[in-house]
């Protein structure tokens, strides 16, 4: 996909109100690279301030809900089953291939987000993070820390492995007061 086509697709998705992660690193508004003596780093983020439409710049002022906590709590176990389901069905027979897995990560993250949204838990924001990697001689470590309200926010995680690849899926649910 050419750069122009990519940007057009990104703008179209933004207009529809959903900025899909169709680019894990393709829809990048800004990327800066840095180099030190023996390491290279890149920083990228999805939103670029100033690219939103004017009427979206001002956040909506919310009225007080007078609710002390979530009415319906996020079902971490149900989400765990969703993750197990989706990862197994999509990846059971697959072998690691760069292009396939690149598409697969994007597709799977969208599918999981859609299925979690279908649970219709009100006032929860959802973040889905997927990593698919090749199984070889390497070692790797994933770590995650969250600063949130432990009474209302939660997460769910699942790891899938077959003979040539592994996949880690994390879903974070943050309550919007």
């Amino acid at each position: 996909m050419s750069d122009m086509a990519k940007e057009k697709a990104a703008r179209l998705l933004k207009k529809r109100g959903s900025l899909s992660s169709l680019g894990s690193h393709e829809v990048r508004a800004k990327e800066t690279a840095g180099k030190t003596k023996d390491s290279i780093s890149t920083v990228s983020y999805i939103d670029e301030p100033g690219q939103h439409d004017d009427n979206q710049r001002h956040a909506v002022q919310m009225e007080n809900t007078y609710q002390l906590g979530p009415v319906k709590r996020f079902p971490a176990m149900a989400v765990n089953n969703i993750l197990k389901d989706v990862l197994t069905s999509y990846l059971q027979e697959e072998k690691y291939e760069a292009e396939l897995c690149r598409q697969m990560t994007k597709t799977i993250s969208e599918v999981i987000k859609a299925r979690v949204k279908d649970l219709m838990i009100p006032r929860y924001k959802i973040i889905v993070l997927i990593s698919i990697g090749q199984l070889s001689e390497q070692n790797m470590r994933f770590g995650s820390r969250c600063l949130w309200d432990a009474g209302s926010d939660t997460f769910s995680s699942y790891t899938f492995k077959n003979s040539s690849l592994f996949a880690v899926a994390n879903v974070y649910a943050v309550y919007y007061e």
């Binding site: 992660s21 290279i40 983020y45 956040a59 999981i112 924001k125 390497q138 600063l147 943050v174 919007y176």
Partner: protein, 113 residues
């Protein structure tokens, strides 16, 4: 110093680069070491989180860190988020040196006050 109002996301670029300095400070110049990687991920994540919190913005943060040994294997990461794009944002930092890759993702979700 500019005034940042809630809903004004122009601070995203500045703040969400802080994890990069944390990574540099903790594993910059080191080689991949199986015994220490557990400690490294924990410190990177905690340090990034405390630095972000010190900025004093009313956000909930989720910081995710992956450290992988360089062996020719491939890794793909994707994220999909259902949130308010006027107030929430995310940032991913990819860092590598001779022996390992480090990918840190920070998600910031607004809290209404």
């Amino acid at each position: 110093m500019e005034e940042y109002h809630s809903g004004d996301e122009s601070w995203h670029p500045l703040i969400l680069r802080l994890p990069l300095q944390c990574i540099e400070g903790i594993i910059g110049g080191m080689d991949y070491n199986q015994n220490k990687v557990n400690q490294w991920t924990a410190s990177i994540v905690e340090h990034s989180l405390t630095t972000l919190v010190k900025q004093g913005k009313h956000f909930k943060y989720i910081v995710n860190c992956a450290i992988m040994q360089k062996s020719g294997a491939g890794l793909h990461t994707a994220s999909s988020c259902y949130w308010d794009i006027t107030t929430d944002g995310s940032c991913t930092v990819r860092w590598e040196n001779r022996t390992m890759y480090c990918v840190v993702s920070v998600f910031a979700v607004a809290v209404s006050l």
